[in-house]
């Protein structure tokens, strides 16, 4: 194969200058030592004028300072998700979203500075927002017709609109249970679109762990009893409060217990446990259900993913609960994971930090609506 002749001279300037991303080279003081053409264009500054200016000053991206400092401290490239690394830049009344990549630069084995690369993800961001808004509208529009159905069916069931045959009653029960399923789906979609549009804050306050667990478990006790499943809570006394948004934390716990219930047969046990390890509390929900196949264990935290356990096709879930739970836990600075063995059971564990005085965690800046 014959290679095309490269234009001469091929040097770094030719390559970097023509990149679609804005690229900066900064020194240890975060001053700009070099920038490419795209960076000059975007920030409307000449190469000469930009040199020596602090990068945070030129780009007006506040969070960049701590991200760069992290890279300097760790001497490792910035490794974080799209959400964490995306920032908002204002230019001439237009908003842009960038994904930041930061790589340390070494000179003679010593940290010299960093290479900062900004990728324009504005379009991607807009698409996300359209999707989020759509989900919000759809879930909203579902509520009104569902009201008519639920009110009507409930009144029929109560016999307030005339007598029913036993079979008729059975059919109505089925309709009611599916209405509840639809209702849960709508609530989950709403919750997800709220989280994605960032209109909610996760306000981490000092939250009592016993209150949290009781609030989540209490409404499910009756159902567990009816289903013949034992629901146990195992909380050591004198746990410190966690830094958590009470309602959101309760939601996560209730969701995990609800899931466990769907996959646990009569005679089984669900155990809710809380343990402290250092500055974190570990909350776990253990069931004696059918277990999750290994190949599905990573997938289950993704949105709209449903997996079926042996003999349980979907079990009435909608594939959003765990995705939302993960978003909530991560927004608190915690982690969530699953351990499972087929035929033996599944344990979901999540962590919340121990409350350490006044602090509030909010979702990533770039993903908040109206900023």
């Amino acid at each position: 194969m014959k290679l095309a002749n490269l234009p001469k001279p091929v040097n770094l300037d030719t390559i970097a200058g023509n990149l679609a991303d804005a690229v900066f080279m900064i020194d240890r003081e975060m001053n700009i030592a070099w920038l490419n053409k795209r960076a000059e264009e975007f920030f409307n500054i000449s190469f000469e004028a930009a040199r020596g200016i602090k990068i945070t000053e030129l780009t007006a991206i506040k969070k960049m300072e701590s991200l760069i400092q992290d890279v300097f401290d760790q001497k490792e490239a910035l490794r974080c998700s799209y959400e964490e690394a995306s920032v908002k830049v204002k230019r001439l009344n237009e908003r842009y979203f960038f994904k930041i990549a930061i790589n340390p630069v070494f000179h003679e084995d010593k940290l010299w500075g960093a290479l900062v690369q900004l990728t324009d993800v504005t379009r991607f961001h807009e698409m996300e927002k359209i999707k989020t808004d759509f989900v919000s509208i759809v879930s909203h529009e579902f509520r009104t017709p569902l009201t008519t159905i639920i009110v009507g069916v409930e009144m029929l069931k109560e016999g307030m609109l005339g007598d029913l045959t036993p079979r008729g009653k059975e059919v109505l029960e089925a309709i009611i249970s599916d209405c509840e399923r639809l209702n849960r789906l709508i609530d989950n979609l709403m919750e997800l679109s709220r989280i994605e549009s960032g209109t909610i804050y996760v306000e981490a306050e000092a939250t009592d762990v016993t209150d949290l667990v009781q609030e989540a478990v209490r409404p499910l006790k009756f159902q567990a009893e009816k289903q013949g499943v034992e629901l146990i809570t195992d909380l050591p006394p004198e746990l410190p409060p966690v830094a958590a948004d009470f309602n959101k934390a309760v939601w996560v716990m209730a969701n995990l217990v609800g899931n466990a219930m769907r996959y646990t047969d009569p005679g089984g046990t669900i155990t809710v446990r809380v343990r402290q390890r250092g500055k974190r509390l570990f909350f776990s929900v253990e069931d004696t259900g059918c277990g999750i196949p290994k190949e599905n264990m990573e997938k289950i935290f993704r949105k709209y993913v449903q997996v079926s356990g042996p003999g349980r096709k979907g079990a009435g879930g909608v594939g959003l609960g765990l995705a939302i739970a993960k978003d909530i836990v991560m927004a608190h600075g915690g982690e969530i994971w699953v351990d499972s063995e087929i035929g033996k059971g599944t344990t979901f564990t999540f962590t919340f930090p121990v409350y350490q005085g006044d602090q509030s965690v909010i979702l990533p800046e770039a993903d908040r609506k109206g900023v």
């Binding site: 009104t144 569902l146 009110v151 409930e154 609530d187 709403m190």
Partner: protein, 122 residues
């Protein structure tokens, strides 16, 4: 005498559902389909309670709340908001404007009866 409930709602099917619900337990129901009519109906009908949707033609539910709760002649009439708007901001706004209760759609008849009983018991 039967208690009089003013239902402010523009969706025909919801009107049928709520009316059936209220008839079943013996309340008298008056219905208006937009916010403007609601404001005139209140002074004419003197309802004991108002069930108010938020997304309404002409004058929206928030405005109706503001007017009724801001007027000493009508501010004591309990208002239950009945809406598909489930966002926390909307709930807060309605409560700040003086709504006595906030119900999101969908709801069960029992929820509605319980609340009506609460606000209409002597």
């Amino acid at each position: 005498m039967a208690k009089k409930v003013l239902l402010v709602e523009d969706e025909k099917n919801i009107i049928l559902g709520v009316r059936t619900c209220l008839d079943a337990v013996g309340y008298q129901v008056e219905i208006v389909e937009d916010g403007e009519e609601a404001l005139t109906a209140v002074s004419k009908e003197h309802p004991d309670l108002i069930l108010l949707d938020l997304l309404l033609p002409k004058v929206d539910g928030f405005e109706v709340l503001k007017v009724l709760k801001g007027n000493p002649a009508t501010s004591s009439i309990p208002i239950i908001v009945l809406t598909a708007k489930a966002e926390e901001e909307d709930r807060q706004r309605a409560l700040d404007l003086g709504a006595d209760n906030y119900m999101t759609k969908p709801f069960k008849p029992q929820d509605l009866w319980d609340r009506l009983k609460h606000f209409l018991s002597e």
